[in-house]
Symmetry: C2
């Protein structure tokens, strides 16, 4: 039973729910990385933590407008497979929240609140708080390791949806030894070339031309970043962000970049599915089982 | 492929999403039963409708404060089992909406909007629109039969959560030939004796003492109503509405009433689960497979 609860008072538990034979616990903590803001995240803890000394963890990154709660509410079936496979799931927020007001922060759904793009901002006024890359890659894993005795820092993987798929792919490619496997649903694959990404890079980065390559899956692949295991990617054939007037996903660029780089890519175009959580939830089983192979 | 779309213009399709190998379609229609109000409901249509001439349907009744959308969003995994078993799911709203304002209608979460209690109101001003029993038992099944060639009126079952569990049990006991099987998550089992039920009956019914027995599972069982198949009921052991200061569920009264009436009851107390959709979604698989046996 050891280690199910957080060890220190750094984490304040906000709620706890039994679901699919495990516990979903939501926490609040103060984040040094994000300028001492109070941040919320959730952890799904399978009952395997009560018997195994260590269990692996899968990090989930949500998309634009989401919080740490969207996956729990709309994709709770994922916890069924985590429970069966003895894998924990860690669910961070998508941006800092609650800091001193920045003009324009809440003006649009695709920039500012709910739209941290999993990067480290270098431009004022964003750079003080918008450090989601470091938060996800460094602070949160350290916090997990410090707080939970069952947490196995040597066995973690990462996946996400849309902007979160972009986060998972870029973070995974830059840290292939840390993340054993990487997958994405409808990822924003080449943000340097799509309106969502151009807006984010222009807003958060001092010199988008120089800096944005660090946060673009296709650019990272071109620069030689690779993951030893296949990247798994699913996209719906009726995804408006792929097939509509504006192509935000640029999935074909991901395919080309992987091919050129020799990066193994397991990609599926899912007939009839769109960009919603209905798509994502339908294929969570496949993704979680994919990750479990490597964990 | 015949019959996937609605036949007439009585139904306006509001949205359609591919999910778990089937289609979730949301419709609006004008309801004569509810005083000509525009009502929304959803239907999950498994791909079995494209090959089988007829498929069975499972009606889902949600609880207090819900709309037709809660189950789709938080319990979408249910569609996975519907898809696998070739069963459609019909998801009505929990009350009339959008009628001329009634004072007090939106004053509380447990009466009025979102709280139709699946009964036919007899008291002014509610009786004009609050006829959810007839809407669920008569109007919606007729509409389904008229609109969808795949709909099999001879093969329907019903289940629900909390107030919707009350709806499923009372409707199923009163119409055992129509509904092949009945199940409930954390049902309000004896509304005549709990605050939620007393408030609803006093508000909607002219003579609660005389009329409420029609809408109380325990009273119906005492009056000789039975279902030929077992009733399946799950309740969480950490359900605040069962274990808190106010017992709204009165599950023990359901157990006694079934025992006295000789009604077969498959009841489980699910260790650690509360009243939320996290509980319900964790056991949807068992419920849908239970119903599929009888459909």
């Amino acid at each position: 039973m050891a280690g199910v609860e957080a060890k220190s008072t750094a984490l304040k538990m906000l709620s706890e729910n039994r679901v699919f034979g495990g516990w979903l616990r939501r926490f609040e903590h103060t984040s040094p990385t994000l300028g001492q803001l109070a941040m919320k995240f959730a952890v799904y803890v399978p009952d395997a933590t009560q018997s195994a000394p260590k269990v692996p963890s899968l990090y989930w990154l949500s998309g634009l407008t989401c919080t740490d709660e969207n996956m729990s509410q709309k994709g709770a079936v994922g916890f069924k497979y985590c429970s069966e496979l003895g894998v924990a799931m860690v669910l961070p927020d998508t941006s800092p929240r609650g800091h001193e007001e920045i003009p324009t922060e809440n003006d649009s759904y695709d920039f500012g609140t709910g739209a941290g793009f999993y990067l480290n901002a270098t431009k004022d006024p964003w750079k003080k708080n918008y450090q989601m890359y470091d938060y996800v890659v460094s602070e949160l894993p350290s916090l997990m390791q410090n707080e939970f005795t069952w947490y196995d820092a040597a066995k973690i993987s990462i996946f996400g949806h849309s902007m979160g798929g972009h986060g998972a792919l870029t973070i995974g490619l830059k840290n292939p030894a840390m993340y054993k496997s990487v997958s994405a649903f409808a990822p924003v694959s080449n943000p340097q070339e799509c309106p969502w990404g151009k807006k984010a890079f222009a807003g958060y980065l001092n010199d988008p031309e120089k800096e944005s390559g660090e946060y673009d899956t296709c650019a990272l692949l071109k620069a030689g970043k690779k993951h030893p295991n296949p990247l798994m990617v699913d996209v719906g054939t009726k995804d408006d962000f792929l097939t509509g007037e504006v192509n935000q996903l640029l999935t074909q660029n991901l395919e080309s970049a992987c091919k050129e780089a020799g990066q193994d890519l397991k990609i599926r175009y899912c007939e009839g599915y769109n960009h919603s959580y209905f798509f994502m939830t339908s294929f969570l089983e496949d993704h979680i089982k994919f990750h479990a192979q490597y964990l």
